[in-house]
Symmetry: C2
Subunit: 184 residues, 2 copies
Amino acid sequence: MHEPAPPLATIAAALRRERERAGISLAELARRAGLAKSTLSQLESGTGNPSIETLWSLGVALGVPFSRLVEPPEAQVRVIRAGEGPRLQADEADFVATLLAAGSPHTRRDLYVMELEPGQARDALAHIPGSIEHIVLASGRIKAGPVGEQVELGPGDYVTFPGDVDHHYEALEPSWAVLVMEHR
Amino acid sequence: MHEPAPPLATIAAALRRERERAGISLAELARRAGLAKSTLSQLESGTGNPSIETLWSLGVALGVPFSRLVEPPEAQVRVIRAGEGPRLQADEADFVATLLAAGSPHTRRDLYVMELEPGQARDALAHIPGSIEHIVLASGRIKAGPVGEQVELGPGDYVTFPGDVDHHYEALEPSWAVLVMEHR
DNA sequence: TCGAGTTGTTCGGTTTGACGAACGCACTTC
DNA sequence: GAAGTGCGTTCGTCAAACCGAACAACTCGA
C-alpha cells in the first residue's frame, strides 16, 4: 500500500491557506510559533523540509490539528440512493456492504451501509492495526463484536469495537446497519 | 485551543510499536525506508527531531497513515442502547441528536443518531471550515442538504455535503438517521 | 517628503539531523 | 573456536534546517 502525495507541496499550500484563513501575517505567525520569518517564508514557498517540532509549533500557533497541515482537502455534495453504490459482496456470508464514503487514503473514514440476512455468521479477519468499527443498527436484529465479546443489537443501538482483532457479524433476522470504519 | 502532547516521545513510541507490530527489525525497516539504521535508532530512542520527509518515508515503509505516527491511540468496546447516550436538544427545532462517538479533539469524527419530528425546518449554521456531513436515513423521510441544494431522502438513502455552509434538516414524517460529522 | 511602521524576501553563519562506518552482542554453522 | 550472519547502538563527517540581519516594497501619518 503506497502513500500518495509528496507532502512538501501539500504542507506549503496548507500553511499558506491556514495562515490566511487565520488572517495573520507571515511575520506574526513566525513570532507566535517561535520561528524565524525566513524559515516560514521558505516553508510556504515550498523550499525546505521542516522538522516535526517546527511543523508542530506552527500547528499550535495556527490552532489547527497537526494532520491538517500534512494532508489535503476533499469532498462536495453527493447522494447515493438506497440500493445504489458499489456493493461489496462477502464471499462466504449473507452479507452485503455498500461503500458510501471513502476518506482520503491517509485519514480513512469509510462509511458503509451493511445488509445482513440470517444464516451463517460473518467471520471478519483483523484489519490493519488501529482500525475501529462503529455500527448503528437501522432495522432488524444482529449480534456483532469481537470474538467472545459479541453484543446483540436492536434498531437504534450502537456499538463500537477495535477492528484490528477478529470479530463476527451475525443477523438474527433480516437487518441493515450503518458501519463506520476508521483506519486512522 | 492548545495542542496536547509533545510529539517527540509519541513518535518514538509509535515507531517502535508499529515496527514491532509489523514484525520487522530496526535494520530492515531502515532499509525499506531508505534511511540509515543510526537515524532510526535515534528516533526510536526518543533522541532527535525527524524531518517530514524522513518520517513520511517511515510511514510508507510501515504501511500506516502518517497521522498514526504522530498521534496517540484510543478506543475499546462500547455499546449505547437506543435512547441512551448524551442527547443534544436543538433549541428551535424538532430535532434530537445523540452523540455516539467523538473523535479525538484533533481528528474529529463525531457520530450521531439524529431523531427528527415533522415541523419547522432545522436551520444549521455553518460549522468550522473543512467539516463534512454524512447522513444515512434509517427510517422515515427527510429533506437535507445545503441551502438551495436540499435532497429528499428515504430509508437507506445517503447524502454527503460540506458542513461549513448553511444547511437545513426537515422531517417530512417522524424519522431517524445516522449522522457522521467530520471536522478534520 | 520624510520618517516609522508594516509586509515578505534573500543573504551568511551556526546548529543539527542524517549518513556511513565501526562497534559490541547474540546466535548459527563449519 | 573461528568465521559467518543478524541485531541495535555509538562515533565522526557532511549537508541542510534554522537563525538573525539586512533587504526592497508598500502603507500610514506628521
